[in-house]
């Protein structure tokens, strides 16, 4: 479905195309435990981005020589469905997907007690069903919940959110159009308990002052998303608890 390219992404009073203010997140809907085969799973809709994540493990490693003697091997695959973007994307993994799989793994591994499960693997799959900007961040947010849903011991949840610069203004949680038409995009992942930045990337151009502001803006976004993550997990376990008590 073709998107029309509008002339202006932000109007004079700082209202964006989808009606959001500059410091506002897109509407977020999260569910956990959505797939019956997986050990843990979660689904997120952030604006028009829709991502499904599943965790299998800890389990035996295949091929065996990859097993680590002192910790679990965390493997991540970030993958986009061919129909998730405007022009069909080949299902073969692109260079972008390979890079994102790597940085997402490195964003989540600090949160997992991998040393509890030596010689095993924890396999994490993220499928982007529809992409509208910020999918690596939504992917981290939802993958962290899938890990928690799988009952894997973690130091904290990881929440992720991007912020950037669009038409000279600093804005939170960019859509695809804002990212492409904007001047900079900074995805950030954060673990509140340790005050840890576990993913940080940037492309675009920002002065040092702008960079500092954008990073802090993204952090505010992460804080809100973290609250949503916790509420979602709690809500799920209230229903589980009720079912057990019946």
């Amino acid at each position: 479905m073709l998107q029309e390219t509008p002339r202006k992404l932000i109007d004079e009073s700082g209202i964006r195309l989808d009606g959001r203010g500059l410091n506002e997140l897109r509407p977020i809907k999260i569910e956990v435990g959505v797939l019956s085969n997986a050990d843990g799973s979660a689904y997120i809709e952030q604006g028009k981005s829709k991502i499904l994540a599943a965790v299998y493990g800890p389990k035996e490693v295949h091929p065996k020589h990859l097993a680590l003697p002192d910790r679990a091997l965390l493997r991540c695959r970030y993958h986009m469905a061919p129909f998730s973007v405007e022009e069909r994307k080949s299902p073969a993994p692109s260079r972008r997907e390979m890079e994102l799989s790597k940085v997402i793994r490195e964003a989540l591994e600090p949160s997992v007690f991998v040393e509890y499960y030596p010689r095993t693997s924890i396999d994490l799959f993220m499928e982007v069903l529809q992409a509208d900007g910020g999918t690596r961040c939504s992917g981290i947010t939802v993958a962290s919940l899938a890990l928690a849903d799988a009952g894997i011991p973690m130091r904290d949840l990881v929440a992720a959110c991007a912020a950037g610069k669009v038409e000279g203004r600093l804005a939170l949680d960019l859509t695809d159009l804002e990212d492409k038409g904007g001047e900079a995009d900074v995805p950030l992942a954060w673990m509140p308990n340790l005050n840890a930045v576990t993913l940080l990337q940037m492309d675009g151009m920002l002065t040092m002052e702008e960079f500092e502001h954008v990073v802090n803006l993204a952090l505010q976004g992460c804080k809100q998303i973290y609250q949503l993550q916790k509420e979602t997990l709690k809500a799920k376990y209230v229903t589980v608890k009720e079912a057990v008590e019946e």
Binding site: E106, P110, V215
Partner: protein
């Protein structure tokens, strides 16, 4: 990629020294290793450079071909960056298609050049929508002793600055090469500065053994006016917000220093 073994004793020594503000090779925490730069080392390539950063050695060759533009930017040339971790450079590099490490290396270097608009791609259009010049930046790692990103970024920029474009004319839709050369239009000078976090301290330009000990890695690329144009965190650890902002400030100074080595006059 399997890792190089560093003995426990040495790991501990590296970490302890850094926590007291020193490094095993005698450098200060924010000192680079010696940078040696040669350019124009491959005559067959349109541009080339060989960089030695301590014992790390990277060669970059630039080739230019005529090809089709991307449909969304019909008036611009194409820039592609590729990195090869050649097996002769380290016992941990294996032959085969690019793995995630070489893809990440290429993409981080690419981001710096692209986002700072270093190459004036709009000047590389022959016929809008049909024919443009494609600039291939091929990074060839020859010896791996840590901090491949900065070495590759320096070598790539040096090679681009050294690139000669053939003169041409268009006859009946075909590009005909004429005698003589012009230089590639380069208007910005991005410099990557990479940090390792060891013992909760930031060290610049980690060598291989420090990379084995580090918790996490952060690269900040700064362009000629001191603006940040690319950032990449790597590794299994994390940074605090204060460390990120501190790194950005140090990166600006270090980028300035490095730029003087590459951009003369």
């Amino acid at each position: 990629m399997s890792s190089i073994m560093v003995s426990r004793v040495k790991q501990k020594q590296i970490a302890q020294l850094i926590s007291s503000g020193k490094r095993l090779d005698g450098r200060g925490l924010t000192d680079y290793r010696e940078v040696q730069l040669e350019d124009g080392v491959i005559e067959r390539a349109e541009g080339s450079a060989r960089v030695r950063l301590g014992k790390t050695e990277v060669m970059v060759g630039i080739k230019i071909e005529v090809g089709e533009p991307f449909p969304d930017v019909p008036n611009e040339g194409v820039l592609t960056v590729n990195a090869e971790l050649v097996p002769l450079a380290s016992p941990t590099f294996e032959p085969g298609p690019p793995d995630e490490n070489s893809i990440e290396l290429a993409r981080v270097v690419d981001r710096g050049i692209r986002e700072s608009k270093a190459v004036a791609l709009e000047k590389l259009c022959v016929e809008p929508g049909k024919k443009v010049f494609i600039v291939f930046v091929d990074i060839y790692v020859l010896n791996h002793d840590g901090n491949l990103i900065d070495a590759s970024a320096i070598a790539s920029l040096a090679a681009l600055l050294n690139t000669k474009m053939f003169k041409y004319e268009v006859k009946e839709g075909e590009v005909k090469i004429k005698p003589g050369y012009t230089s590639l239009p380069v208007r910005n000078y991005p410099m990557a500065v990479t940090f390792a976090k060891i013992s909760d301290k930031l060290v610049v330009d980690p060598w291989l053994e420090e990379e084995q000990v580090m918790d996490a890695r952060l690269t900040v690329t700064v362009e000629k006016d001191g603006k940040v144009c690319a950032v990449q965190k790597g590794g299994y650890g994390y940074f605090t917000m204060q460390q990120v902002l501190e790194a950005a400030k140090i990166a600006r100074e270090k980028a300035e220093e490095l730029r003087k080595l590459v951009v003369k006059g």
